[in-house]
């Protein structure tokens, strides 16, 4: 297996992600802030916003740990794809865009809507998959388990709905 080029087995990614949680606390006494970091990006775009969510201590200053973490995630994805030689800038999402009969504009709107729903859900639930599922469950917090159950439950329902409607039964 070529470590840098090929996809990794699940246990390797799981091991690396899992070990990062205690290491973050060991070095910086903080957990991950993936969905929180997106607020920093928004604050950069609209710095004068009066919105309460964009004026909490989490995004002040903008260039805080969450900002560097999320920039790192984006860089990491770029590095990963560059190493495997299949980096390209595209709106093609594979199985989805090849099977739905939506026009390009509707697909963009679909993704925008999905992203908005993710962001609203993540703020409501006080975290996303990294904050609630990985961090929350590995520190044995009841909220992490409850939120993760919520993620999985509605994702299964919506996926099957999509499967039988817009994706026309494709596996």
């Amino acid at each position: 297996m070529n470590f840098l080029k090929d996809p990794w087995p699940f246990w390797l990614s799981g091991l690396i992600i899992g070990i990062q949680m205690p290491l973050m606390y060991y070095f910086f006494n903080n957990g991950p802030g993936t969905s929180s970091g997106s607020a920093n990006l928004l604050k950069l775009i609209i710095p004068k916003s009066k919105l309460k969510w964009l004026n909490t201590e989490r995004v002040n200053p903008v260039f805080n740990r969450n900002f560097y973490f999320i920039i790192g995630i984006i860089l990491g994805g770029f590095i990963s794809k560059s190493l495997s030689g299949d980096f390209k800038f595209t709106f093609d999402t594979g199985l989805f865009s090849q099977n739905v009969s939506f026009s390009f504009i509707v697909q963009l709107f679909w993704y925008f809507l999905g992203g908005t729903i993710i962001a609203i859900g993540a703020r409501f639930a006080d975290g996303c998959t990294s904050g609630n599922s990985i961090h929350g469950m590995s520190t044995l917090q009841p909220s992490g388990f409850v939120a993760s159950m919520g993620f999985m439950f509605s994702a299964v329902v919506i996926t099957w709905l999509m499967h039988f409607t817009i994706l026309k039964g494709v596996m």
Binding site: F10, S13, T34, G76, F124, Q141, F151, A155
Partner: protein
């Protein structure tokens, strides 16, 4: 130093997700159709490793590298976790990300 540290944590985190193809629509879609459990394996492995890691930290006196008490970011259970979880999962399935 802290900034560089978080940047490196982010790069490793992003690479791990990308390398296991968690960023592919198909992967998320097939996970929730119960056809491909790779990503479930990632989460389960990460949580088990995380639990062991936090246990080891507590054995070492629950101290950071500069000898401060570790304070876990605790989110007390509220009804918002269920509602938010259900909303988040909807978007998760829609975008497969």
């Amino acid at each position: 130093m802290r900034r560089l540290g978080w940047l490196i944590f982010g790069i490793i985190f992003g690479m791990s997700l990308s390398k296991v193809e968690a960023t592919k629509f198909e992967k998320i879609y097939r996970l929730f159709l119960f056809k491909d459990f790779t990503l479930m394996g990632v989460i389960v492995t990460a949580v088990i490793v995380g639990i062991i890691g936090f246990y080891l930290l507590s054995l070492m006196g629950n101290k950071t590298i500069d000898n401060k008490e570790i304070i876990i970011d605790y989110s007390p259970l509220r009804w918002q976790h269920i509602i938010g979880g259900l909303i988040f999962g909807t978007g998760w399935a829609m975008t497969g990300s």
